[in-house]
């Protein structure tokens, strides 16, 4: 899952990035309202963690601009402001969730995952696809009832395919969700991960759709 982390305090942003990466999130970072607005309007993210007090454009204004531009990406506001008027203002501007600093890592991660799941139409917190199941709250995969061990990159690819199961996920979209904005992506690396995943999740299978991308199937056919 790819997250845009908008936080102007460098120390906090660094720590946040560290813990979120440890939880297999893919991160882009923005430190100003201006950057955040630009990234949110041009890049594809599964969710945004947005601070409200930002230089060059307050968080609420950024949020409003995204919504005005028709961007529906889910936004979790993470701020020091804990007044109810601030919360109401953020939700009115289009926020989907609101956490007050400081926040426990577990709380942040659970709410981020829940936010992504809800935004992608998943009502249930457990998604099944043949022998595979995915607990979106915990971010854990099971294969035929047993925990499935995955590397970070594998988890990112599989969770993206799982959330879009039975649909074709375009290759660029997948790369975007797996690698961070400035990473130098080897075009073969995704193919390598897919190959490894195919072995782990059989008899479920990942179909390559030529010229488009990949599709996760439940039936072995």
């Amino acid at each position: 899952m790819k997250i845009l982390l908008v936080e102007d305090d460098t120390a906090l942003a660094t720590e946040l990035a560290k813990v979120l990466r440890a939880e297999n999130f893919v991160l882009d970072r923005a430190a100003t309202g201006e950057d955040a607005q630009h990234l949110g309007e041009t890049e594809g993210y599964d969710a945004v963690v947005l601070d409200l007090g930002l230089p060059k454009g307050d968080g609420v204004s950024v949020l409003r601009a995204w919504r005005a531009a028709g961007r529906t990406l889910p936004v979790l506001v993470l701020t020091a402001r804990d007044g109810w008027s601030d919360k109401v203002a953020a939700f009115k501007a289009g926020a989907d969730d609101y956490l007050v600093k400081p926040v426990r890592v577990e709380e942040l991660v659970i709410r981020l995952r829940a936010l992504v799941r809800r935004s992608q139409g998943g009502g249930a917190s457990r998604i099944a696809c043949g022998p595979l199941s995915f607990d979106t709250g915990l971010g854990a995969f099971e294969h035929e009832g047993l925990p499935l061990k995955l590397t970070g990159l594998e988890w990112r690819v599989l969770s993206c395919l799982m959330l879009n199961r039975d649909a074709v996920v375009p290759r660029p979209h997948l790369i975007e969700r797996v690698y961070e904005g400035d990473a130098d992506v080897d075009s073969n690396s995704v193919e390598v991960i897919i190959t490894r995943l195919r072995r782990k999740i059989a008899p479920a299978r990942i179909e390559s759709v030529r010229g488009h991308g990949y599709r996760l199937h439940a039936d072995p056919a």
Partner: protein, 445 residues
């Protein structure tokens, strides 16, 4: 015994002062007018009487010179015994008296100055029965010289004078009453803008108005301008204080958040002890920031806040905050209700209550509001476990013991209570028919 404090001097009302001053002036003016008119009347009546006496003296002198006095037949009022009208003429050993004297004599007790020989001059005297008389005396030169005295009773002077003065006093009294009534009316009209000002200020305090209207009489306008400036300054101070609290919150929480994130790494905090410290710091910071925010309150609002839109906005926010739990929040808030509170404070009170309900409910929360005799009542109910009386008391008391306050369950409730009390309202906890807690927030209407 401790020395008893002197009571402060009574602050007399402006109206009393103005009325007292007016009454004294009117009274003084009427007394002076009464005295002046009295003196003039006295002179006038006496002048009339003296004219009458002088005419008699002229007649007597003519009679004397013609030697006709002995056969004189007196005309009224000099022919009658009793009232005091009389005359007497003395020349050498001869004495002629009026019929009314019946042989008695007029005694001159206080001869007046004879400035103008040949004309009668005034004097006082008494009659044969000792009655007081007003005299006119003329000395006619000759050998021997003659003295003509004409007398009128003092009653002839004071009787009509008393009558005239009685009527005069009555007229002046009525005039005085009319003047004082008129002045009272004038004072009332004059002070009317002050009464209106008081009503306007009360309206500002109750939140029905934002400012005192500037359309005022010239004398009051500067006062109103100053008042409005004071109100504006208060609002600005409040705004600034809130800004400081917000900055402080940001300044404290950002590093705390960083620390919290850093300690998520087990390598840095193997036994979790530092983590507990951070959590404790967080609680304390939150607690004291809320206290600081509450302290930055005016306790009164400029203007009223509509209840329904605020509740509706909070509903939208809380439904999303508790999206995972799936809380159903029913609202029944009439559109026409408003309360004299700052919007932010109202958000804080309602937000804390509804948030608490959402946290503890199973699936349902209900918010209802109604206008009652004692003010506006907002009721927030949930279907959770609720609180028994002792626990409810403990929760409410926690907010009062500020320094040892360890925020936990229902930390929002004491804050709400404190805010409500600042606005002259209150908060009571009970059991809801939904099964859980019922928090009833009362705010002035």
């Amino acid at each position: 015994m401790p020395p008893t404090k002197k009571p402060p001097p009574p602050h007399r009302s402006l109206r009393t002062r103005l009325l007292a001053a007016a009454a004294v002036l009117v009274l003084a003016a009427l007394v002076v007018a009464g005295l002046a008119i009295g003196v003039i009347l006295h002179r006038f009546v006496r002048g009339q009487i003296e004219g009458h006496l002088d005419a008699q003296i002229v007649a007597l002198r003519a009679g004397l010179e013609a030697g006709l006095l002995s056969q004189n037949r007196d005309a009224p009022p000099f022919d009658r015994d009793g009232p005091g009208w009389a005359w007497e003429v003395r020349r050498g050993s001869e004495t002629f008296v009026s019929d009314s004297l019946r042989g008695g004599h007029i005694t001159v007790t206080a001869p007046g100055p004879d400035d103008d020989p040949g004309h009668p001059h005034p004097a006082d005297g008494t009659g044969p029965r000792g009655e007081r008389l007003i005299l006119r005396v003329l000395t006619v030169p000759g050998t021997p010289p003659a003295t003509i005295v004409a007398a009128a009773p003092q009653a002839a002077l004071y009787g009509p004078l008393r009558e005239a003065l009685t009527s005069l006093a009555l007229a002046l009294g009525i005039l005085g009453l009319c003047l004082i009534a008129g002045l009272a009316l004038q004072v009332r009209l004059g002070l009317a803008p002050l009464r209106r000002l008081r009503a306007d200020l009360a309206a500002v305090r109750a939140g029905r108005r934002e400012r005192v209207p500037e359309e005022q009489p010239a004398e009051i306008k500067p006062l109103v301008t100053e008042l409005n400036a004071l109100l504006d300054q208060n609002a600005q101070n409040l705004e600034r204080a809130r800004g400081h609290v917000a900055n402080l919150a940001h300044a404290l929480k950002t590093p705390l958040a960083t620390l919290s994130m850093a300690l998520a790494d087990p390598a840095r905090d193997p036994d979790g002890a530092l983590r507990l410290q951070v959590d404790d710091m967080d609680r304390r910071v939150r607690h004291h920031l809320r206290r600081a925010r509450a302290a930055a309150l005016a306790g009164s609002a400029r203007g009223r806040t509509q209840l329904a839109p605020r509740v509706s906005d909070l509903h939208d926010a809380l439904v999303r905050l508790y999206a995972e739990k799936g809380v159903a929040i029913d609202l029944a808030v009439p559109d026409d209700l408003s309360v004299p509170c700052e919007g932010q404070d109202l958000d804080e009170m309602l937000g804390n209550l509804v948030d608490n309900a959402c946290r503890w409910c199973r699936t349902r929360v209900r918010v209802t509001a109604a206008s009652r005799a004692g003010g506006i009542v907002v009721r927030v109910e949930d279907d959770g476990p609720g609180l028994d009386d002792a626990a409810a008391e403990a929760v409410m008391a926690r907010g009062r013991r500020l320094d040892e306050g360890v925020p936990g369950h229902g930390f929002g409730l004491p804050i709400t209570l404190e805010l409500a009390e600042l606005y002259g309202g209150g908060l009571t906890l009970g059991r809801s028919e939904l099964g859980g807690l019922e928090a009833e927030l009362t705010l002035p209407a």
